[in-house]
């Protein structure tokens, strides 16, 4: 007699977990093969989980109401039988099997040939335990010696993000690494490394319960986590802004044909040393040129002192998504920099923000901000102003849209944008004027050459 661990299988094609609705056996129960052990409710149905063997129940893996993840221990049997259950890596006492033996042919017809030979089937070497160890499957990962389970799309993502899949803890069934796992991993280490001024006690990714809700599993209880680090500083800053600043926001769409052409023309000249040439340097150029004509948007208001300060420098903050939260590194004196310089500086600052090596000095002294919600597919939004600044411009994704040209509908690449401004400093008419100028530069970037 030996013990056999029976783990909760995926009974419904791609489930994460199941809730124990009822036990039909108890420790000590004698069970026969196919006898119902428990009713388990999944996202799809209540299903009966049968016994794989004849034997005696030693232990149960949970109580009624418990939610077990797929692969979690359900029942431990004492049995003389063995069974291989590959889907969750559990086996009984190892039994030598003639791996690759073609299935026996049914009774008829008399001359029916056998299934393909093992050669044609390209069998992988069969290990006695088959696949990951039960423990690895149960806790969803850990370091693995064999192949990492991941979809081709996830592998590609890992390749692109420079992530070693073997080091990622998989949250999917059987420890499968998901794209979310890769993204979390890619942003996680920096959180734990150098804590910047803004993010002192950051939650480590290796202990997700400390700072993040657990994902993927349907749970009946809420989970409260402390507000810490970057999330806390974002929360404070945004609350202050929303409470203090009366926002007005306007939305426009601009024909981006010339802008797209400008980027395409410049790209081969400016994309070098692995630094991409995106639209962002062009957008920064258009914004600083617009600010030259609308100084009210490059200003700060002080209600206590009852003063308005018009800034001499044009320092453009760039809202950057880091995985751990939003950070806003600042391109200083953007008006004095060439497109190539802007491209390199933006790339360097964004990388520094993402790996959390950006310094507090690099994130201060902003006078105006740009946010690029198009990077995650956004169309229009209502950007929130960074406190002490007067306005923020947000850009959506350039997409083909039907627009009237000389009374005829034509398809043009179209850039949506939103600008929010502090109504204490500017009025709607000012905002309209700012947008008109900005749109003129974006629609015809050659105007940027005329100088200020």
């Amino acid at each position: 007699m030996s013990e056999l661990e029976f783990r909760l299988p995926d009974v419904g094609e791609g489930l994460d977990a199941g809730e124990i609705v009822e036990w039909h056996v108890q420790p000590g129960s004698t069970v026969v093969r196919d006898q119902v052990l428990a009713d388990v409710e999944t996202d799809k149905a209540v299903v009966e989980i049968p016994s794989p063997v004849n034997g005696t129940v030693l232990r149960l893996g949970g109580d009624v109401g418990d939610v077990l993840e797929i692969g979690a221990l359900l029942v431990v049997f004492e049995t003389e039988e063995s069974v291989r259950i590959r889907s969750h890596g559990s086996t009984g006492p190892a039994t030598p099997q003639s791996a690759g033996k073609p299935p026996a042919v049914g009774e008829q017809p008399a001359a029916a040939p056998a299934l393909p030979t093992p050669v044609a089937v390209a069998q992988s070497p069969e290990t006695g335990a088959g696949g990951p160890s039960p423990d690895a499957a149960a806790d969803g990962g850990g370091s693995r010696t064999g192949r990492v389970l991941a979809s081709p799309a996830t592998r590609r993502l890992a390749l692109e993000m420079g992530v070693d899949l073997g080091a990622v803890r998989g949250s999917g069934p059987g420890g499968r690494v998901t794209s979310d796992d890769v993204r979390s991993f890619a942003t996680a280490p920096a959180v734990a490394d150098t804590a910047t001024a803004e993010s002192a006690p950051s939650p480590r990714k290796s202990a997700p319960a400390a700072g993040e809700p657990r994902r993927a599993v349907r749970r009946l209880t809420d989970e409260t986590v402390p507000l810490r680090g970057l999330r806390r500083s974002i929360a404070k800053s945004m609350t202050a802004s929303w409470r203090e600043i009366p926002h007005i926001t306007e939305f426009r769409e601009v024909d981006a044909t010339a802008l797209v052409q400008a980027r395409a023309t410049l790209r081969p000249h400016l994309e070098r040393d692995g630094v991409p040439f995106t639209f962002l340097p062009l957008l920064v150029k258009a914004v600083v040129a617009t600010l030259a004509e609308h100084p009210k948007f490059n200003a700060s208001i002080d209600m206590d002192a009852e003063t308005i300060t018009y800034h001499g420098r044009r320092n453009i903050g760039l809202a950057t998504s880091t995985g751990a939260g939003l950070m806003v590194p600042v391109v200083k004196d953007a008006d004095a920099k060439s497109l190539g310089e802007l491209a390199r500086e933006i790339d360097g600052l964004a990388a520094a923000a993402r790996d959390r090596s950006v310094t507090p000095a690099e994130m201060s002294e902003g006078t105006f901000s740009i946010t690029n919600f198009g990077s995650y597919g956004g169309w229009l939004a209502t950007p929130i102003i960074r406190p002490s600044e007067a306005a923020i411009a947000g850009f959506g994704r350039i997409r083909d849209a039907v627009v009237p040209v000389d009374g005829v509908p034509v398809v043009r690449p179209t850039l949506p944008l939103s600008v929010s401004a502090d109504h204490r400093l500017v009025d709607g008419e000012d905002l309209g004027g700012f947008l008109a100028t900005l749109i003129a530069y974006l629609a015809d970037p050659i105007l940027l050459l005329k100088g200020e």
Binding site: K44, I85, S87, A104, V105, P116, E126, G130, P152, A158
Partner: protein, 378 residues
């Protein structure tokens, strides 16, 4: 709903609702006189008809039906233990599948299956362990042994029908006397491929029997929402060949109708559409929960028409069946199924490389590159 509750008719709204649903179910099938029926639910042969099979043939057919039911139970249990990916049970449709396959000659006729014809394809030579292996997710199970005249199972609805017509037409061009039987369902009948295939088969007089198993459900879509027509068989007229309706839970009627259709095809008479009116007595597959859309009355009503019960009742009336015979047959089936499961589970798990090995003899570079990327360990 025709009646409102009155003092004389104290039915509750729920009861009336249930009755109305029951009527809907009944209406979705042809009535007596419109379809071929031989073996009635109580196991007697209807007046004016006779059993088209010998007692020995019926016992053999019963064995395949019982084998099918046994595999259903075992496979669902295996799936619930994590030992099988998914499974589509035949339960309820055994007479439909077995009766039709008995009219085919495995030595020369072809079966072009969908995915719910286990006893038919296994009788035709597809290995039972291979069939199980297929549902365990191993591509080795999809390989049809050489010489077995069965095409691979088809999950994509109705995609097998053009294949069946091409196969039949080709056999006809070769001067063969072989017949192609292809299986599909009420849901698949709504796919464009069904129309294209049947139309071409009619034009070319291809030796194909279109065996439509109307089991009442396309997963959760009921028959009444599948077509506005009274039945599916009447479509055949539009394609220029005969269409017949049979009681699909009646082994004899299914066999008789299929035998006639096969004979027509074999002798140059072209295709036939058979609508086998049966019932899926359970879930679409192991990932489905039929209690969310089926009325309990439907399940219980069709339990009484269990195709297996009908056959055993008839055999008993011929003194050709008793409890001992049943125990003996079941024991043999259990052994056969045990062996098939053991054999299927002895196969090594599939290797990701196999995803790339069965479509192209000479894979294009695009696919090779994808394969290298996928198989790269990290």
């Amino acid at each position: 709903m025709t009646a409102q509750p009155t003092a004389d008719d104290p039915k509750t709204e729920a009861e009336l609702d249930l009755e109305s649903k029951q009527e809907d179910v009944e209406r979705s099938f042809a009535g007596p006189g419109e379809r071929l029926e031989i073996l009635s639910p109580d196991g007697t042969v209807r007046p004016g008809t006779e059993a088209p099979m010998s007692t020995e043939q019926v016992r053999d057919a019963l064995r395949w039906m019982m084998l099918s039911r046994t595999v259903d139970v075992r496979a669902i249990s295996l799936q619930r233990q994590g030992r099988m990916g998914t499974f589509s049970a035949v339960r309820g449709q055994e007479a439909s599948v077995v009766g039709s396959s008995f009219a085919l000659d495995p030595a020369r006729d072809w079966i072009v299956p969908q995915y719910r014809e286990l006893p038919g394809v296994v009788r035709h030579g597809f290995p039972l362990d291979g069939y199980l292996l297929y549902w365990m997710g191993n591509p080795a199970g999809g390989r049809v042994p050489d010489g077995v005249k069965v095409l691979p199972l088809q999950i994509a609805l109705a995609a097998q029908l053009p294949h069946a017509v091409g196969l039949g037409w080709g056999l006809k061009l070769q001067g063969s006397e072989s017949v192609v039987a292809t299986y599909f369902g009420d849901g698949a009948s709504s796919e464009g491929d069904s129309h294209e295939a049947m139309n071409l088969a009619g034009v070319m007089r291809a030796p194909v029997v279109f065996f439509l198993q109307n089991n009442g459900w396309a997963i959760s879509t009921p028959r009444t929402k599948q077509t506005a027509a009274a039945n599916f068989a009447s479509r055949a007229e539009g394609y220029g060949f005969p269409g017949v309706i049979v009681d699909g839970n009646d082994l004899f009627a299914v066999y008789a109708a299929m035998r006639e259709a096969v004979e027509r095809a074999r002798t140059g008479g072209g295709p036939t559409l058979i609508e086998s009116q049966t019932y899926r007595m359970g879930a679409h597959n192991t990932a489905d929960d039929p209690t969310r859309y089926m009325e309990p009355v439907e399940l219980s009503g069709w339990d009484e028409r269990d195709p297996i019960r009908r056959v055993t009742a008839w055999l008993r009336s011929q003194d050709a069946w008793d409890d001992d015979a049943e125990r003996e047959m079941q024991a043999g089936i259990d052994r056969q199924v045990d062996e098939a499961i053991e054999s299927a589970e002895a196969f090594a798990p599939p290797n990701p490389e196999q995803i790339y090995t069965h479509v192209y003899a000479d894979p294009p570079e695009r696919l090779r590159a994808q394969q290298r990327a996928a198989l790269d360990s990290h």
